[in-house]
Assembly symmetry: C2
Homo-oligomer: 483 residues x 2
């Protein structure tokens, strides 16, 4: 979500509103390319290993995907998966945090870990001759982290400081509020990075427990890609991970998110000191394995980007904002569709109205070919760029593996995008982007509330000081707007 906003702001902050528009040039045919077919093998301990060879650059990248992430956080303690990943690389049974950093540095390697919804990920990247040595450190970190108390405290301090930044910025806060508003008590509802209260509370033992419970060979996928032959990758995986035992205990069943259409909510977080008002329209979307996935991402592209409908309506036609964009995050269970912008407080009600109407426009009639072709070009161009690095290729294949999709789909992404018809988009929009859109505004409420309430008499107002993202009611204490 942070990425969504930063990309939006980077892309649009330098662009001026304007009125006269000409038809952009036709985009030409989509790129054609065949990416290397991933090959796979499963170790006797249950670890699925996927190798992707690409020569030309002497780099190798590995990623271990643990198929449990923030959705597996204890309900009362959001942030456990994220903190577990933060501390994972900071010391093992045989290496201190400093030793790990020095050893990877000496190899010219990069070693990182993070967590999000649906997965926790550890990555290592090194030049080919030094990869095997870096891979040993990577495996040590995956298998034998110690979660030293002082490292937990350091990670906690940094996480709290990062949350402070998130909360002080309406553009980063509003999507978190929207996710809670839309998902309620379901696992995707809580913030993956936790709340100030939960992060202050999480103990070392909970990180150890998360690691013991979920970081196990039968709940993971290991990807090795780049300048290495598949057989060599499998041999390395066997040597370094072959004796990784799975625990005797069974893997906990995943907590499912609700897949039913949500009830729309309108939530205002009153933050009088905010510079502008962030507006987010959100709704539960689709799961990654949904057959309408490509219709979904093309629908999202029609709304999003510089020439997308949201930016055209909000910025170019009305000069309401520096930009507006949208994202459709397909997950194991249906993930969120989120559209956002940032406007002057006094124009927030107008901005919300335009956002809602623009999203609804997709269901009203089929998208014209002249609009559709360039929007598909944005999708295929972004996809091609995302596969340019070994890290990017491994990450894309990893997402297919995480969501149980055929690995050959790496070569079907562009044709599947191109095949989406105007009718499919209209169907998708009718099913997923028409009704029950929730609305969240974070800003100086007194400057837009009277106008907004005319349109949404049942809206909820929560003072920023009372906001609690740890709870499905967002910390609201009164039943009616308590402004």
């Amino acid at each position: 979500m942070k990425k969504f906003w930063s990309v939006l702001l980077l892309a649009l902050a330098i662009m001026p509103p304007a009125v006269a528009l000409e038809t952009p040039p036709p985009p030409g045919p989509p790129p054609t390319v065949t990416y290397p077919t991933p090959v796979e093998r499963t170790l006797t301990n249950g670890l699925r290993v996927i190798a992707i060879q690409r020569t030309g650059v002497p780099l190798i990248s590995a990623q271990l995907i643990v198929k449990s992430g923030s959705e597996a956080d204890p309900a009362a303690l959001p942030g456990v998966a994220s903190l577990t990943a933060d501390v994972l690389t900071q010391g093992t049974a045989t290496r201190s945090a400093t030793e790990i950093a020095q050893a990877t540095d000496a190899l010219g390697a990069q070693l990182t870990a993070d967590a999000g919804f649906d997965s926790s990920r550890v990555r290592v990247n090194a030049t080919a001759p030094r990869f095997a040595a870096a891979f040993e450190i990577f495996a040590d970190v995956v298998r034998r982290p110690v979660f030293a108390p002082e490292e937990v405290e350091r990670a906690r301090t940094q996480a709290l400081s990062s949350l402070q930044l998130t909360y002080s910025n309406p553009s980063s806060l509003a999507p978190l509020v929207a996710e809670r508003a839309v998902y309620g008590d379901a696992p995707y509802g809580h913030p993956a990075d936790g709340t100030p209260k939960s992060v202050s509370t999480i103990a070392r033992a909970q990180l150890q427990q998360f690691h013991q419970t979920y970081y196990r060979p039968d709940n993971a996928v290991l990807l090795i890609g780049g300048d290495i032959a598949p057989e060599a990758a499998f041999a390395l995986a066997e040597r370094v991970f072959g004796d990784w035992q799975k625990p005797a205990t069974a893997l906990p069943a995943p907590q499912a998110s609700p897949v039913t259409a949500p009830t729309a909510r309108v939530v205002v977080i009153d933050q009088p000191e905010a510079g502008r008002t962030a507006i987010v329209v959100s709704r539960i979307g689709i799961e990654r394995a949904d057959p309408s996935y490509f219709a979904g991402i093309v629908s999202n592209a029609v709304l999003s980007g510089y020439s997308g409908r949201l930016n055209s309506e909000v910025r170019i036609k009305r000069g309401l904002s520096y930009g507006a964009s949208a994202s459709l995050e397909a997950r194991r269970e249906p993930g969120p569709f989120t559209a956002g912008t940032l406007v002057d407080h006094t124009r927030a009600a107008e901005g919300a109205q335009v956002m809602l109407a623009t999203i609804a426009s997709l269901a009203a009639q089929p998208v014209g070919a002249g609009e559709l072709k360039p929007r598909k070009a944005v999708v295929t161009g972004g996809f091609a760029r995302s596969l340019e690095t070994i890290d990017g290729l491994v990450a894309q294949v990893g997402r297919l593996a995480l969501y149980g999709l055929p690995l050959e789909d790496i070569n079907r992404y562009i044709p599947s995008t191109e095949a989406v018809s105007p009718e499919q988009i209209q169907q998708f929009a009718t099913a997923h982007l028409k009704d029950n859109l929730s609305l969240v505004l974070v800003g100086n409420a007194k400057l837009f509330l009277p106008q907004l309430q005319k349109q949404f008499p049942a809206l909820e107002v929560i003072p920023f000081a009372k906001l609690d993202l740890g709870q499905a009611n967002l910390g609201r204490t009164a039943k009616v707007a308590d402004k």
Copy 2:
């Protein structure tokens, strides 16, 4: 310079100080790879065109390097080259800023421009089938920008806002102060992004003049790389840039920087509200074509990075800081060596002493093989990663072209790094990192000045409010330390 600090902070902020250190594992052999040999042709208008074919990913990237950048700013108006690049993509004789953004967006392309010392750069990146259309827009922007008054104002507002951030952060301000302290009135002395005063003053006519004077085919190199055959790249270049006329006027002679060893200065910027004190040690280094370039970058690597001597001394052994690092920026004329860290105000004098002593240590005796091998691994690993994308490959070849080096050097970088001997490092350090190191501190001076003055009685103190990076004396009004 911003990149230097952000990389430093990102890389080191999460790492803890510690005491016990073991020898890191041996890094293994360096990567071997042969990058595609660039081929070149010069158009009749004098434009040098370089093509670099790399298949496997359906992307093509072009970069036009204008061989004049911030060093060519009018002496009284730093920031002209940078603002010229900022506004370049914001409208041409036939396309408004919005039309340019919409057209590149519709092609799934990316179009950017920036300037720094020695060059101004325009880049475009698109999937192969859409590249030719994107390349037309790129050429339009290079050749026919209009610098519309409202776009100039917008760029000015954004540049001023960015400068405000730079000035409020000791870590971003201190390197700018150091460059001015070290270079004085020479072209590399002024900040490339200008000063609040100069950016407020620069007029549209000066941007037009910078463009007319320096953006011309006989002062530029065009690179086209990626999934395109060299002949096709040359044909495209000829078609789109072949009729680009060079002006009748001669190209102005470049202003040279001094290459004589500078006199060391110790400058304190008193910023009482700063959270911590930034310490920068700086000196004029070497030019890119200097035969000791590789000895220089390996010397810098011995000092820099997690296991580098600076971080080991400042952070790991003494816990003075979250990290310390260094950079050696080789340019057309000798560029700056810069080493920096951020410490508590009360330990600033100690921090400065440790930084200076650590840098001086390189000249005292040869670096041991056990230390040298991993430091070279950091350099070769970073180089391999930098060439992973088409953009990165084009940029590396572009730097060779800019500095008049053989393009085949792309394949000599790793062996040249590996060939550097301990004796060469000692020689480099004796010549370039021993004497005449200037020192800049930005922080709450009253907390460290008495201690620092014992060591450096002749230091200059400048209150933050009086700091003027537009002047070689940095805005200092009194001849002696005014405190």
